[in-house]
Symmetry: C2
Amino acid sequence: MVEVVDWGRSLHHNGERPTTVSFTDAELSYLATQRIGRLATARPDGALQVNPVSFGYNEELGTIDIGGYNMAASRKFRNVAAGSRVAFVVDDMPSTDPVRVRMVEIRGDAEALTDPVDGRAQIGGPIIRIHPRRIISIGLDPGDADRDPHLLKPFSRSV
Amino acid sequence: MVEVVDWGRSLHHNGERPTTVSFTDAELSYLATQRIGRLATARPDGALQVNPVSFGYNEELGTIDIGGYNMAASRKFRNVAAGSRVAFVVDDMPSTDPVRVRMVEIRGDAEALTDPVDGRAQIGGPIIRIHPRRIISIGLDPGDADRDPHLLKPFSRSV
């Protein structure tokens, strides 16, 4: 099933700064405006899948937390439980004429948590928690809204 | 780089029916309305990535063809050339209040073609060509626009 629980915003509570901040302010601001991202996981046999999911930035841990309807029974959850690494992308096209693009891609390790303790009050259910190892963003710099997408420079780094 | 070349529509030419049609008419109609999908590939070491891409349905071959700026130099192209299987999803949220979702996910094998012969006139450049092996769609049946997403039944099959 597609996840449609919209708890993403609630994770952006006004609390302390996280112990580890991997994202830029521009990336966090962008992520907060988007409801859906796409999560890639691999089955143990190597077959890939990619699913639209709702998400939230966990400010305390610096992770991306993904919940949703029937999460624990989902194949993606089981893929992560079996050791799959993950990639996750949030992107949109704020203008189609002229074409303008924005994205944040996050690659990393993930945990399949049936009973998350951290941030549980916000989440309340099984989640996939992504620990970013590499972040690539495009189109989020000041002035990028006026730039031809082919001229945008990805901001790519290990974290 | 993000691919933004919009040649997707041009593949929907009015020609003969493909030799193999894996998609339903509802799926093809939906795909024709969307500009961007997200493609998951794996590096040889197992690390995953997921990228927004423009795409087109290749009616002659029954494949999904993915082109774009700087494709041949991209990591996803090299991943496919190195044997990565792929997953590709096209989805959107036609309504947010109430929440309504639609998607087509395609899992399969892929080719990295530097000089595609089939449909070359439409494409004109290196492409990733996906041969569907499994298709899962949600929210495309008549009446689904009025249904709670949690009640939607995925239409999932091997092809």
